[in-house]
Every structure is written in structure tokens, then in C-alpha cells.
Symmetry: C2
Subunit: 207 residues, 2 copies
Amino acid sequence: MANDIPDIVIGRLPIYLRALTHLAAEGESTTTSSYDLGRKLGISSAQIRKDLSHFGEFGKQGTGYNIKYLIEQLRQILHLDREWAIVLVGAGYIGHALSHYQGFQHRGFQILWVFDNDPGKIGRDMNGMRIRNMSELGALVRSEGVKVAILAVPASSAQETTDLLVESGIKSILSYAPINLTVPSDVNVRYTDPVVQLQRMTYYLDS
Amino acid sequence: MANDIPDIVIGRLPIYLRALTHLAAEGESTTTSSYDLGRKLGISSAQIRKDLSHFGEFGKQGTGYNIKYLIEQLRQILHLDREWAIVLVGAGYIGHALSHYQGFQHRGFQILWVFDNDPGKIGRDMNGMRIRNMSELGALVRSEGVKVAILAVPASSAQETTDLLVESGIKSILSYAPINLTVPSDVNVRYTDPVVQLQRMTYYLDS
């Protein structure tokens, strides 16, 4: 079943999960509806119902969704009912910001190690983590079976670093490098480039 | 015409632009094809042709696209034939990383000012920019007619800051705060949340 579901649908599930988690934290209600959730997210309620229907029946006509139950289900679907270790590659400004990012906690992820190839950085501390030599990456990632990496290196070394990550067994890469990476078909890359997102919005600006 | 084009199509144009800009920088060829571009990006050539066909005829069967011409056209379509001033709100770790980000240059954007409300940060230098008091934001943004903002404040003050940005005339917001923001329909928000992107990938991981 899993492979038949469009990736764009999968991409909306974490957004639903985030909104539901906020609702649960607010604690005002134990249930919500596709209408309320849709209004909160700027997504139509029909879209939300359709997206969720790929995975089963989560709500009842009239009573809506039980927030806690839907959170649990989404976490299972997205394989977040465990904690994923992340290797962070690159101890520059972005790596530094990521090491301080509070949002990983309780959302399924933890940065396990940080690597860099700059002799001036190796061995130093970054927010409580020792910056490790890139030369250690392969053996460590393999030994722990780490599957998830965040790439925060310059564009010029991004492909080379990606090749090393892939060889070491990494299957999911979130890249901050502003280039398109080539990976085998069983490896998933997502890109985060603030300019690409800004450019998508200036289309709608007139002056 | 503009409003009939799905936002998902608009979202791919910056990706095409980025790949074409790399091709132009490599300088190996003056033309490319939807097939080559698609292979580079992991997008089907049919999709690329269909996306571009919304905006006119950019290539010829057999000879492909002139890279420089297509870059120019995409920059016009996305309103990048000018430079957009950005206000950056939040001088924390993410703001710091953004102030050092090289990718804004030559891609249509420049951070004009940075704001924070922390008295310990106001007046200090961040990569050559003086951190300004949030209380100055409204008047400055209005006086210069700035339309684009990057929000890098904690979740707890994100909505309040967004309201201030919207009141001041901001129409496009790139948010790093991990919550969904409420804005009027003429304001566009895009979110960048590394965990949402990671969660979209763990769906495909088995163990």
C-alpha cells in the first residue's frame, strides 16, 4: 500500500502532525475536525479527509478526530514511534544553528554526531557535542546503522560528502547545500534552500 | 493568466532556475533539454515541458532550450529581474546563519535590516549589520516599502511578530518558527522546518 500513496500526501502528514501536537499541547479540546484543522493550516477539509483516508478511518462523521489517537496513528505511519539518530555533517553557521535547534526533541530525531573536515574545528565543542573528523564518519555510521543525515557543507563539497554518506548506509538526507545532489534510487534527498522558497513567493508580488 | 497556474508549478520554477544557473556557470553548453534537466533534478522531462508551457514557448523540438534565455525568462516570471529587500527578524542562531548565507546574492534578495527585541542584542553587530530594536520595525518597513521578511523568532512570539510584519506591509514571509501562522489572504507564508522534512523521509525507512 505504502508505495501507492503520492509523496505530496506524505509531505502533508508532518504538517498535520505538527498542528495536532499544538492542539494537544493547548489542551482545549480532545477532538478536532477536518474543517478546524484545515482552517488552521490553510488546506481544504476535503483534502485533509482524502489524505487521511489513504491510511484508514480516523474520525467519525459528526464527532471528528480524537487528537491523541490521530497523533499516535500519524507517528506510526511516519515511523516516528521510535527515535532516529541523525549525523550532522558541517559545523559551520548552519550546523551551529541546527545543533541549538529545540525542535528535534520529542519529534523523533536526535543529532548523534557532528562531523567536519576543517582541522581548526575538529575536536572542538559545538553545543555539547565534539566535532569529529570526517574520516571517522563511514565506520561510525556503519557501526550504529544510522540512516538519516543532515548535510550542511558548502556546495563545492556537497556531492562528494553525499557519496560518502550513501556509501556508509545513509538513506535519508536533508541538504542545506544549494545544489541538486545525485543519489541512488533507494536514497531520499530533500532540500532546504531559503532562496528557492523566497523565489516561489515573489512570483505573487507585483512591485 | 498568473493566478490560474498551480502553486506547485510555481514552486518548481526556482528549482529549474537554480539548475540552469549551475549549468550556465559550468559553461559547458549554451543549450539544454528537458530530458537533461529532468535527469539532473529527478523530475520527468514531460513535467518540465508541461510546467514551462504555462508561460510560453521556450525551446524548440530537437534543439532544446537556450540556457541563458530560459534563465532570463524565469527570472522575469518570478519577478527576480530586480533585487528584493528582506527584513530579518530574530538575531538568534538561525538569524546568525542566515546573515552569513551566501546564497542570497545574485539570486534576487538582500537582507536590509535585522531586528530583535532582546536588549542584550540590540545595537550589536551581526555580520556587518547593526541589530535594530523591534520597535523601529514598523516605521522602517513602511518607509522603504519592504515586502519580504524572514521570521527567525521562537514559536512563542512568532504570531505576534507576524501580525506586526503584516501591519507594516509585508506580503511574503519565510518562517523558521515551528508553528502555523495566521495571515490575511493577500499575505503568503512559507515554512521551513527541518523536522517536517525529515519526517517526510522516515515514512520511507523501514527500520
